[in-house]
């Protein structure tokens, strides 16, 4: 039996909706493509998983007044080569807008205000000094004092306390068999499976794969007792053990 035309209309094959998304914005502050690519490479190296195939908005307003114009086409290809997916531009000149449209990129209206803040980064700006880094599971038997920082490439096991004002980071799990009063950041390169185990939770801050919670947001019931912390649906879950 042939399908009646009006039946086809009852089940629409498409629908327009409006959603609000959070998307990284790449602020361009230099017109030298070489410099931009070089610095971008360094940033991406710090958190490769976080940026892989990430959509990206390119903001050009800082260089709009520059005499020398940036070759937008070349910039977009360079960004794509680094594994990112630029989807649109803003703050562009008329010429750049044309280029963008030719490359099937969206041209977004200029934006001022809150969007100009640099992205909140709980990124490990892997510091060079006062930081001990090891390649294998790291074991620490001495108290970690205020102001000390520890970075473990894999798991980190601390048999003593972590003082207020100390910071321990691991790309994997963190186990603390003493009191945790400082900051503990697990999965700092984006491993959302990483966990924090701790014998006595009094932390200033806990974080897994960039999702963090500060002391003020800790439930009174979770404080001062043995807990494990993991990430579920982008939320930190604290369970007693």
């Amino acid at each position: 039996m042939p399908v009646e035309p009006h039946q086809a209309y009852q089940r629409p094959a498409i629908e327009f909706k409006s959603v609000t998304l959070t998307m990284p914005v790449l602020n361009i502050a230099d017109t030298d493509l070489g410099v931009i690519t070089e610095q971008l490479k360094i940033k991406l190296k710090q958190a490769p998983e976080f940026f892989r195939n990430s959509p990206l908005l390119v903001d050009l307003h800082e260089i709009r007044a520059e005499q020398e114009q940036l070759d937008l086409g070349a910039l977009i290809s360079a960004i794509q080569d680094l594994g990112l997916l630029p989807v649109g531009i803003r703050g562009a000149t008329e010429q750049q807008k044309k280029t963008a449209l030719q490359q099937h990129m969206a041209v977004l209206p200029d934006h001022r205000g809150s969007g100009n803040k640099p992205a909140p980064a709980l990124k490990p700006e892997v510091p060079k000094e006062e930081l001990s880094v090891t390649e294998k599971t790291q074991l620490i038997t001495q108290p970690i004092r205020s102001g000390q920082r520890i970075y473990a490439k894999k798991d980190l096991i601390v048999l003593a306390q972590v003082s207020a004002g100390a910071e321990i980071m691991a790309e994997g799990n963190i186990h603390i068999y003493g009191t945790l009063r400082g900051r503990a950041l697990a999965g700092v390169q984006g491993d959302s499976e990483a966990r924090i185990f701790c014998a006595d939770l009094q932390a200033e801050l806990i974080s897994i794969a960039g999702h963090y919670r500060i002391s003020e947001d800790l439930q009174q019931a979770d404080r001062g007792r043995p807990v494990q912390i993991h990430l579920q649906d982008q939320a930190l879950i604290i369970n007693p053990i």
């Binding site: 001495q142 108290p143 004092r145 000390q148 003082s163 004002g165």
Partner: protein, 268 residues
């Protein structure tokens, strides 16, 4: 070979210089040849507390710069002939201290002295770093309040990572906690951290508790190390502390509230 002790804290005004003067005098009175060095270049105080400010000719910086010999700069204490003071320079600043220079002076002192007490300046900058760099033992002076405890914790981190022993991978500096200006009455009222609270945060071997005492200020003003005031609580507490450091077993005193006369009468 001498044992080098640094008296440090991070925070200022907690009693480092008072402690340095007291323990140096205490060690010397026990018959050990002791030198005490003021590392607070530019804010020279130790000579006042030791009561030898009128006998300063040359100082630590003169010795480092080889403008004077160590023997010319060392001041012998008038009360105890085993004790010598090496004053800081008042006209220079901490930049005048060099790692090599300090090392050279300490090496030379080590040949003839049993104990060298380094009175560290406050802060975590050059002066404090050089005072602790060559140390074997650290006396971390802490007041029973949160900011002092936090600063001591920071200092302990520096002791564990930036000293010569740490850099050379040797046995770490032995760290001792000295709780000063302790008032059991205020602890009871909940106005002050208790000994247990501080030990819980710092997890450190407690060498002694010095009670808050008016006699400390009186002694400082008179240029007499408080340990010589045998009648005062603080003086006795420092004597206990020195004895404990030398391996004697002394019970902890002055950590409980003093009983008033009425309290004693009604004690069951």
């Amino acid at each position: 070979m001498a044992r080098i002790i640094v008296v440090t804290s991070g925070k200022g005004g907690v009693g480092k210089t008072t402690t340095s003067a007291a323990i140096a005098m205490g060690l010397a009175k026990k018959g050990h040849r002791t030198a005490v060095i003021d590392f607070d270049v530019g804010l020279r105080n130790l000579d006042l507390i030791m009561g030898c400010e009128r006998r300063v000719v040359y100082d630590f910086i003169n010795v480092i710069n080889e403008e004077a010999t160590l023997n010319q700069a060392l001041i012998r204490d008038k009360r105890c002939n085993q004790l010598y003071i090496l004053p800081a320079s008042q006209t220079r600043d901490k930049e005048a201290l060099t790692k090599e220079g300090v090392g050279r002076v300490l090496d030379e002192l080590s040949k003839t002295f049993k104990y060298i007490v380094c009175d560290s300046p406050a802060g975590i900058e050059r002066g404090a770093n050089l005072a602790m760099y060559y140390a074997d033992d650290a006396f971390v002076v802490t007041n029973p309040e949160v900011s002092s405890v936090r600063d001591s914790d920071r200092m302990l981190g520096i002791l564990a990572s930036k000293s010569r022993r740490a850099e050379k991978g040797e046995e770490p500096i032995k760290e001792y906690l000295l709780l000063t200006r302790y008032s059991p009455e205020r602890v009871k009222l909940g106005e002050m951290l208790s000994v247990e609270d501080v030990q819980d945060i710092l997890s450190l071997h407690l060498l002694g508790v010095i009670p808050e005492s008016k006699s400390v200020l009186t002694a400082s003003n008179a240029g007499i190390p408080i340990i010589l005031d045998e009648k005062s609580d603080a003086g006795q507490a420092y004597s206990d502390l020195v004895a404990r450091y030398l391996g004697e077993d002394r019970p902890l005193r002055f950590v409980d509230e003093k009983k008033s006369l009425l309290g004693r009468l009604f004690r069951v």
